[in-house]
Symmetry: D2
Subunit: 243 residues, 4 copies
């Protein structure tokens, strides 16, 4: 197992960008990879500081790539063009640098909370890059999240990213779903029964089920919106990627 703390200068984000990566020891030239996104308030080290990711990467023989999210909601904004950066710069950079397959069938995207939202958006809009998506306790409805008193994100920060009604509309998962034209991807969703966004997740569950039918899986779990829930279930999520 190799743990890599990487830093490179991006042209899209105009800064040095940190990504924590785990590569198994099985000696493959083209590992299957999970792009594992964190939530609001976290960074590229949060996953490995909360969960033994190396052990899981080894168990499932998966490369796991954990980029900084920079609180950008995995979205292009005036301040941070994160979405474009992720799709156009980060993915090819990492796939060129490390023994990671560039085939969609070998790439999966997952995340928690804001990262669950990001996983769904990146995945659904880029079926040519990702064959599987796992959303853990995703921000299922960004409009509700904006006004939710339990959200840790200040409204004015939110509005800096989603800075017009159109921008908000276009980035709603429900609306993104309408434009999806392939349903060959496999999607997993989970959300703790005590999560403050549980209701929104149930609504999203309905929308995803309608669209993806048997390619969609709901994994029922207990717990709230915290690492207790995510730590308890990430093994199952990674296991699902390998099936």
């Amino acid at each position: 197992m190799t743990l890599l703390n990487t830093s490179f200068k991006t042209n899209y984000l105009h800064t040095y960008f940190k990504t924590t990566i785990v590569i198994p020891d099985s000696g493959k030239a083209n590992y299957k990879a999970v792009w594992l996104l964190h939530g609001y308030t976290a960074d590229d080290t949060t996953w490995i500081r909360n969960v033994n990711i190396e052990k899981l990467a080894d168990k499932y023989d998966l490369a796991i790539v954990m980029p900084e999210g920079r609180n950008a909601f995995y979205t292009d904004s005036n301040f941070i063009p994160y979405y474009s950066f992720f799709i156009k710069e980060l993915i090819p950079k990492v796939q060129d640098l490390l023994p990671i397959s560039s085939k969609a069938e070998d790439n999966y995207v997952a995340g928690v909370s804001m990262g669950g939202y990001g996983a769904l958006k990146f995945g659904l809009e880029n079926p040519g890059k990702f064959s599987r998506i796992a959303a853990m306790s995703p921000v299922a409805d960004i409009e509700h999240f904006r006004n939710n008193s339990k959200s840790p994100m200040p409204i004015n920060t939110f509005d800096t990213i989603f800075d017009s009604p159109k921008k908000l509309h276009d980035n709603q998962l429900a609306n993104i779903l309408k434009d999806v034209d392939t349903t060959d991807q496999k999607i997993l969703q989970l959300c703790g029964d005590a999560d403050f966004m549980h209701e929104d997740n149930i609504v999203l569950k309905g929308q995803l089920t309608d669209k993806f039918k048997t390619n969609y899986t709901w994994m029922p779990v207990s717990g709230d919106h915290s690492w207790t829930t995510w730590s308890a279930n990430i093994d199952q999520v990674l296991n699902w990627f390998t099936k």
Copy 2:
């Protein structure tokens, strides 16, 4: 010499925040400290990746604290309340954690480019925290910088931070200078003769001279707006702090 890569969760920035810190070996309980800011496109590791900061910290027996700037222009904005974070959270946190004096007479702030601007703003507005300020090739006039084709910062990113004419006005160094009511601090400024912001620096030099008289020092240097210039002069800058 101890090198510390630190990460802590901030309440102001809603994320984990990285700061690289160097502490000399002389065993002091209260080191004098330099808060050393980087420019646009850089991060908390940029100074030590470009300059042998440890050697200089040892030479001048100074703690050197190098926080991430997160491209926030060292300014409070809707996206990142960096200024408040820096003054109210970062400084006390680091002074509590490490053997660093909290007296203004023992704390100096310095930076390059966007960090030179930040050093001047943090310093001039907080004489109770910093007794000396060193601005290396600072962004001396943010309005000119906004429109400067040589600036690496996209206008829409700039406008996310300085999002109204009033905000821009209030953050102009020339205007900040008008409100300064103590001139006991010592200020050093340098800017390479081939720097694309050299003219703006000459204007700022005049304003600082008028206000700070003999407490102001202009250090004439050759070079452009790059690490070649800053690497060549940081030793002299740190030396000035200790005089």
Copy 3:
């Protein structure tokens, strides 16, 4: 919670030495501290890569210091004078640098496997520095370990450290125990029931009970000599320190 990856040049070990440290956010000037040692084949990052140490440090309001062991068996040898370094250089260095109490009553030493051996040796021989000791699956009998086919340590490496019969004798915990003249310290020992060194631990349990009476605690646990066992029990161990 602040995570610090530190590196400083030691005079004892003639190299840069890495220590990973976690400091809670409660703002104390003098935290109680756990010196947490790893086993053979591990390094200063192993604890945080296997267990959510930050969460536990926060839960129990303890500073946790995790130094590299450099496979030195926490012992002075011709190649690495680790014991002297640890007691005479590392402890004062870290206590000077960070808000950590230097009183014995506030300092505890713990470790797994080779680190459990180290914790007992450091603790028992330095009652003026540590008031509590927790040995998790310690190498309870180094002579048995030397010849144990399940040990990952080659005999010639072992013999480089314990390079004479006298050295081996003097470093046997049973012999160290004979010279202990204070029994005010509190000692905790655990060892999984399927551990390949379980029998040796039972013998040591008897020796420690004879000497320390009610100041000694045996924590019965199931499991083998692995992180599965240690991950499952470190919370309980840290909890014991705070009682």
Copy 4:
């Protein structure tokens, strides 16, 4: 430019092993690589903490790999089988993981002081792996080094590695040179005129000239045995690799 701090578990050294690596941005599938070794008292971060290696890697479009040396003298010993590890485990591991050519013609080995000795030994004994060798202020005569009062290495540490007259004899560069049967490699040597091992370097210069003729280059430099000398000359050394 990507900076990678890597850590992997080695089978040879029975621990996690850290290597700092810099990869240029030119997008090659098979970079030429420099294996850059440090001296006694240093570690995998020493080169980048003393010299702007990233800038040089970019300038010469070279991957630069900087492994920990663990004070092992780049030699197999009872305590650390470093030589075998380096040749049989580290090199293939890194070449498999990163876009680095595995051809001898694309791999160069360099080092300072103890690392200069290591570069010569690794290089001369493995012409199938390295086509060029650069020794900067190498420990040219290990017997003299053993007894040299200016050496920072204690004799008993030295004797743990070179633990018999035969071992010392077999690891003397002069004796290794006798067994070299190919002289197609290109060799560069430098040593500051005020270096405490300058005389030994002059003797080695003669031996290398006799053997390698025009494939050998002596680069005359001023300075002592310190980073001042090495910082001043590493650019020239890397430049020589690319000619």
